[in-house]
């Protein structure tokens, strides 16, 4: 999927999902929303830091598998 406008039908479906979510308490929404799976490379160090966001983005581009989606191109 690209950053393109959604169709009317898609918008209606999403709105129905947002309405369903709004009926759930925050704790329940969070239980459904936060997931945990292993992300290669990214999860392999206990701590990383970068002086600038540009350095972080560059590191992601160079080191992470492209399918993780942290780069600007696939």
């Amino acid at each position: 999927m690209n950053d393109e406008p959604a169709s009317e039908q898609q918008l209606r479906e999403w709105e129905a999902e947002f309405e369903a979510a709004a009926r759930r308490p925050l704790a329940v929404r969070m239980r459904y929303s936060f997931i945990r799976t292993y992300k290669p490379v990214l999860d392999d160090a206990p701590y990383r830091s970068f002086d600038t966001m540009a350095e972080y983005r560059e590191w992601c581009e160079k080191n992470l598998p492209s399918w993780l989606g942290y780069g600007r191109s696939v």
Binding site: D3, S33, F34, I35, Y47, G69
Partner: protein
């Protein structure tokens, strides 16, 4: 592997950061989820005010939460490096001191939203940040996130 981030962990952040007077905002998809966005994410992203005083409070609060920070890592947090990724604690956390697309913490704070005591970036700021980052995963989530922003505004 750290535990999955969930409501109790968010409460721990909120309460511990409040005790230490840390100035921060939930940002990214985790922030949007707090506002009601129905989607999935793995990370909790916090936008922290970049100042020595806030950095010191933040490092103390993280240590209290159980993050095993070395002296050097604590110093980096106090200094406010632009991006710090923590996987050395009870849950994973990304600290962002200079998110793409947002000029200053003060500007984001002025129109932030409070949900159950959680300070959250305004959806417009979350979207601006993702537009500026322009990663593949951001581009994938932006149409739905914009739809949520519009839905959220209609229901305020």
């Amino acid at each position: 592997m750290a535990v999955r981030f969930d409501y109790p962990q968010a409460q721990e952040i909120r309460d511990t950061f409040a005790r230490h007077k840390v100035r921060y905002l939930f940002i990214g998809k985790s922030g949007a989820i707090l506002l009601g966005f129905s989607d999935t994410t793995q990370d909790a992203d916090l936008f922290a005010d970049k100042s020595l005083e806030n950095g010191e409070a933040l490092a103390q609060a993280l240590t209290e939460l159980g993050f095993a920070l070395t002296d050097e890592q604590a110093a980096e947090i106090k200094r406010g490096k632009d991006f710090v990724q923590l996987k050395n604690g009870p849950f994973d956390l990304d600290l962002i001191f200079a998110p793409d697309g947002i000029e200053t913490f003060r500007e984001a704070w002025e129109h932030h939203i409070e949900i159950d005591g959680f300070p959250v970036c305004h959806p417009d700021d979350i979207i601006k940040s993702k537009e500026a980052a322009n990663r593949v995963k951001d581009r994938e989530s932006l149409p739905r996130l914009r739809a949520f922003r519009d839905y959220w505004k209609k229901h305020q």
